[in-house]
């Protein structure tokens, strides 16, 4: 894949062209003006450009230049926006006891992570599919279909995988790469059409949709598997929870509509299992073998 290189080549052009389009954009609309609190930078602060427009464009510009420019405040802003988009894809599950359980479980796992003090927020989406998502700043969502098919250690393994995506800032990396490529395209289009109101906020929305429909870098998925397994073990769970889930995924046909998105956005389950086997060996076997706890059983306890 040479997408990253391609993106880098285009980034320069994007930076030049963006200044021509910034003034025509109205970013305060599509995402509820969430970005208005971000301090505008100077790159696109042209005379006559609307201040919030500069702010939004600036954030994308920062992402495109380097993820290192995104501090935790900005990371949380980006995360809130992406989480808001994800929450627009499916409704929340109405079982508040289940929501609280997943938050306690997830918060416990997150406490053993490299970033225990983020405002970790977990939720169950009311959907029969089998999937999990994360957004920067500590948002982790799982589908009800997934929760119904796993035990507690397996759910902990999945949450630990998603938590690792957050602590390693994988989404920001991916968004940065997409911003580099996408900004160039968008800027060219805007210039040709010359009058595209709302393009910047729409662009963030579009980048987010693109991100969650296409998935993260494969090496990031393998890293999240590897670190997720260790993280779940640190929280006192059976480290084989995540591998067991991958074995479930392995049995699903790629065109089973309950699994399509998970399978299309991740490396093949058997490949992930082989990577985990290499990393785990028998290192964590001393922590394994705890009796499985059904989630329904845990919910009845409370």
């Amino acid at each position: 894949m040479n997408r990253a290189l391609h993106a880098r080549l285009l980034a320069g052009a994007a930076a030049l062209l963006l200044s021509a389009t910034a003034a025509a954009q109205d970013p305060t609309r599509a995402l509820g003006g969430l970005l208005r609190s971000i301090t505008p930078g100077n790159v696109l602060n042209l005379p006559g450009a609307a201040q919030p427009g500069a702010a939004t464009t600036d954030l994308l510009q920062m992402l495109a230049e380097s993820v290192d420019r995104i501090d935790e405040t900005r990371e949380l802003e980006i995360g809130r926006q992406l989480a808001s988009v994800l929450l627009g894809s499916k409704p929340l599950h109405p079982d508040v006891a289940l929501q609280r359980y997943v938050n306690r479980l997830g918060r416990w796992v997150s406490l053993q992570s490299a970033r225990p003090q983020l405002p970790w927020t977990f939720a169950v989406l009311d959907d029969p599919g089998f999937n999990a998502f994360a957004a920067p700043g500590g948002f982790v969502f799982v589908t009800k279909g997934l929760v119904d098919r796993v035990d507690e250690a397996e759910l902990a393994g999945i949450l630990a995988h998603e938590i690792t995506h957050v602590t390693r800032r994988h989404h920001l990396q991916a968004l940065g790469a997409k911003a580099r490529a996408g900004l160039a395209t968008q800027a060219l289009t805007s210039r040709l059409r010359n009058d595209l109101g709302g393009a910047v906020s729409a662009q963030m929305l579009s980048l987010g949709r693109n991100l969650y429909a296409s998935g993260l870098d494969q090496s990031d998925e393998f890293e999240a598997d590897r670190e997720g397994v260790a993280l779940a073990a640190r929280a006192g769970f059976d480290p084989y929870g995540l591998p067991a889930v991958l074995q479930q995924l392995r049995t699903a046909a790629p065109d089973n509509p309950l699994f399509t998105l998970t399978l299309s956005t991740h490396p093949a389950p058997q490949q992930r299992l082989e990577q985990l086997e290499t990393a785990m060996g028998s290192r964590l076997d001393a922590f394994a073998g705890k009796p499985p706890v059904p989630i329904a059983h845990r919910l009845r306890q409370r």
């Binding site: 894949m1 990253a4 988009v85 627009g88 894809s89 499916k90 929501q99 609280r100 938050n103 306690r104 918060r107 416990w108 406490l111 053993q112 405002p119 927020t121 959907d127 599919g129 948002f139 589908t143 279909g145 098919r149 990396q173 949709r209 429909a213 870098d217 494969q218 090496s219 393998f222 890293e223 670190e227 640190r234 929280a235 006192g236 769970f237 067991a244 074995q247 049995t251 699903a252 046909a253 790629p254 065109d255 089973n256 509509p257 309950l258 399509t260 998105l261 299309s264 490396p267 093949a268 389950p269 490949q271 299992l273 082989e274 990577q275 990393a279 076997d285 394994a288 073998g289 845990r298």
Partner: protein
């Protein structure tokens, strides 16, 4: 979707459709093959009594039971016992096609024709039910109200610690797992450049 379906063997599609009326995805009873010669054991662990010696590429059925790394299987002869989950590969060969790293898996590819190459056995597609898909993401509009709602469900550190205590969960020290020295060599289709692992 369509592209995926077109890449699949016609026989697999026929099988898929014939299974389409199953009520729910059955995630056990997976046809699997042993990746190496191993012992079938009567319990979860290397210390458990050996029931039988199985050769590499022995056809087994994965059952529901799991205890840690060990899963329950049934042999073609009908014996039931336990093997380590990493010693099993899907009989369909699904997911292994990009992996050049495992000679065992490579050898298994010879038998994929039998199952049509795609986890067909477990299709279990419930007609009319689909999960959150790319089109839901593509059409998603920001939902600030739901965002507010989930923020209200957030649990504090104290709640989490109380949960762990009630659940008998103790934090333990676990060293990070080593990153594979040449992770990219087995990622097939991925970005071999990747990022440097620390």
């Amino acid at each position: 979707m369509i592209r995926t379906a077109l890449t699949r063997a016609p026989a697999a599609l026929l099988l898929l459709f014939s299974l389409a009326s199953l009520p729910a995805p059955a995630l056990a009873d997976e046809p699997v093959l042993t990746r190496r010669a191993l012992e079938l054991r009567d319990g979860a662990g290397d210390g458990a009594r050996s029931l039988a010696a199985l050769p590499a590429r022995a056809a087994l059925t994965r059952l529901d039971g799991r205890q840690g790394a060990w899963v329950q299987v049934r042999t073609a002869a009908g014996a039931t016992g336990w093997v380590h989950m990493f010693d099993l590969a899907p009989a369909s060969g699904a997911g292994s096609d990009n992996s050049a790293g495992s000679s065992a898996t490579g050898a298994l590819r010879g038998v994929t024709g039998l199952f049509g190459g795609g986890g067909v056995r477990q299709a279990g597609t419930t007609a009319g039910i689909r999960g959150l898909g790319a089109e839901d993401i593509a059409n998603a509009q920001p939902n600030p109200r739901a965002l507010e709602q989930v923020a209200g469900w957030r649990q504090g550190e104290g709640d989490a610690r109380a949960f762990a205590q009630q659940s008998g969960l103790q934090p333990v020290t676990v060293e990070p797992l080593p990153a594979p020295a040449r992770a990219a060599s087995r990622t097939g289709g991925g970005d071999p450049a990747g990022r440097e692992m620390p």
